[in-house]
């Protein structure tokens, strides 16, 4: 066998391995109450997931063995992904007087298409539990947003709920925004290395405070090159979680809101260098 034949065989083997669906390590047998409660509001709306997989550029080669062929089973990863996308797409009030941003902003950040928020991207799963999610630049083709098992398996706590998962779509999508407009947010996974200032985490951001109504809905992508009109990934995530917790559509279940509020507040207390972000909602237990 010539060297060339060996090489061709090796390349074919590598391509075959790449095309095969990854075997899921993540738990595919259970869902959090927040996921189940949200799920029951749509009862597995097929027209939505048949739109969603295209809108998030998802494929069976990435999500095989994770509910791609069982898309109405809320215990599996792919159905949980589209459950979170459902919350993001329909679950917000979009009230000009109250919401930080609108559905147009959050969808623009999470969905695949090259737009004012980012270049093309696609969504894939990862079993790597050393991250919640990641955004990766690809020289060829779309950039990649990975969401980790930590956002799907409730036994791995506490982010396996639709609000936190959709919040991560925002966070990772915002790294895409940083890339699109050539901003450098730091060398620790796209954040400033911490702990530093008021930030107690390893990856820290600034909070670029802005009032309600400072950004028209659909204008979150705007920046003027200064700290006066800018967002960081953790800030976008916190503002999204606050909008879910405090200004949702009337049908959004309380379990979803409660988990979103808890995530927003822990993140706002720990991840910002220049002081805590907003406290979302009031601390009355119910």
């Amino acid at each position: 066998m010539t060297h060339l034949c060996k090489l061709v065989l090796a390349l074919l083997g590598a391509l075959a391995l790449r095309a095969a669906p990854a075997q899921a390590v993540c738990n595919q047998a259970t869902a959090s109450q927040a996921d189940r409660d949200l799920w029951n509001t749509h009862g597995c709306w097929q027209a939505f997931f048949l739109w969603q997989y295209k809108a998030y550029d998802m494929s069976g080669s990435d999500w095989g063995g994770r509910g791609w062929d069982d898309a109405c089973n809320v215990n599996k990863e792919y159905p949980k992904h589209w459950n979170a996308a459902y919350l993001l797409t329909y679950g917000l009030q979009d009230n000009n007087s109250f919401s930080f941003h609108g559905t147009a902003d959050y969808r623009g950040t999470a969905e695949r298409w090259d737009n004012a928020y980012h270049d093309d991207l696609y969504h894939a799963p990862t079993d790597d539990t050393s991250i919640f999610g990641s955004w990766s630049y690809h020289f060829f083709g779309s950039n990649e947003v990975d969401t980790s098992c930590l956002l799907y398996d409730p036994n791995l706590r506490p982010n396996a709920n639709p609000g936190s998962r959709a919040g991560d779509f925002e966070h990772e999508g915002w790294h895409g925004w940083m890339d699109k407009y050539d901003w450098d947010n730091g060398s620790c996974g796209g954040h400033r290395c911490g702990p530093t200032g008021n930030c107690t985490a390893k990856g820290c951001d600034y909070f670029y405070f802005h009032g309600i109504g400072a950004y028209a809905f659909g204008a979150m992508w705007e920046n003027d090159g200064t700290a006066n009109r800018f967002h960081s990934p953790n800030q976008v995530q916190v503002e999204f979680l606050c909008d879910v917790a405090d200004f949702p559509q009337g049908w959004v279940p309380n379990s979803v809101r409660l988990a979103a509020q808890a995530d927003a507040n822990q993140r706002a207390s720990q991840r910002f260098i220049n002081g805590p972000g907003y406290f979302c909602g009031n601390p009355r237990p119910w």
């Binding site: 097929q46 589209w82 036994n155 237990p285």
Partner: protein, 285 residues
């Protein structure tokens, strides 16, 4: 021969780059997601039936308390903002039912390791109950040591964050008791709890439950850590407050705390691929 070696080296390099640098342009798509379930119509058609579901009773004997508490958590989790006052009323009516309070506490413990969202629900209900049993349960949870080992994600121990979030919910319940014993726990948490999540929540809960009074601030100043004093002035975003009022408070906060101003963002040192439409301006004349 030399040409063949060069070709092999080139193919190996390109193959490696394709694997490591990114996906090939033609990422395999395959068939769309599938299900064998029958297709439903529109989700909005399910709303009415959901809102009409009757709450499970908490007025039950001790033998049925666990079952009733679990059913109530199911119902309360699925309830909506519109049902908030009804949930509060039902919880209040069960205040003196120690068996039910114990069952909520047990369910919170059980769910803490299997379903964080359910544990948050159970603790919220328990805090809203303002019962003696609930108080003991929340206090024990607040003092549970944080795990020092576990799943490390982005340098954070996930189990530690998870427990911190539950303890923050416990502190909300203790502050809501409006009792000297409850406040004592809250102030202890402000000063000494090892988790910043809990300390931050304790400050907020104490202030809110004391109507953000000057006295409450003065009390907190005795307990709050020097490097966390800014949490006393933190901006709270509540659903009832309109934009004008919130924006005024935010402006006052920023004026009082110039140190919260962010530095200018950094430009990345690489070739720009696109510009925001707002930047497409002619040069200044």
């Amino acid at each position: 021969m030399r040409l063949r070696s060069f070709l092999i080296a080139w193919l190996v390099t390109v193959s490696g780059l394709a694997q490591n640098v990114g996906e090939p342009p033609g990422r395999p798509k395959g068939p769309p997601p599938q299900t064998t379930e029958p297709a439903l119509t529109r989700p909005s058609e399910l709303d009415k039936a959901r809102l009409e579901s009757k709450p499970p009773s908490l007025a039950v004997p001790a033998a049925s308390a666990a079952q009733a508490a679990r059913a109530f958590i199911d119902w309360a989790g699925a309830s909506t903002v519109r049902q908030r006052e009804e949930v509060r009323r039902l919880i209040g009516e069960a205040r003196d039912n120690a068996s039910v309070a114990t069952a909520f506490c047990d369910e919170a413990s059980r769910a803490a390791v299997s379903d964080h969202s359910r544990a948050l629900l159970a603790l919220s209900i328990l805090g809203e109950m303002r019962s003696r049993v609930g108080e003991d349960c929340l206090r024990k949870l607040l003092h549970r040591p944080l795990p020092e080992k576990g799943t490390l994600a982005h340098g954070e121990i996930v189990e530690e964050t998870a427990l911190g979030m539950l303890q923050a919910k416990a502190v909300d319940g203790l502050a809501y008791l409006h009792t000297a014993r409850g406040d004592e726990e809250v102030l202890w948490a402000v000063a000494k709890h090892p988790s910043r999540i809990v300390r931050a929540e304790a400050i907020e809960a104490y202030l809110w439950n004391h109507t953000d009074s000057a006295e409450a601030r003065a009390t907190l100043q005795k307990y709050v850590r020097a490097d966390e004093a800014i949490f006393l002035d933190r901006i709270r975003r509540v659903p009832e407050e309109n934009a004008e009022s919130f924006n005024k408070r935010l402006a006052a906060f920023q004026k009082a705390h110039p140190e919260t101003a962010s530095p200018p963002p950094h430009r990345a040192y690489r070739k720009k691929r696109s510009l925001p439409p707002g930047d497409e301006k002619p040069p200044v004349r």
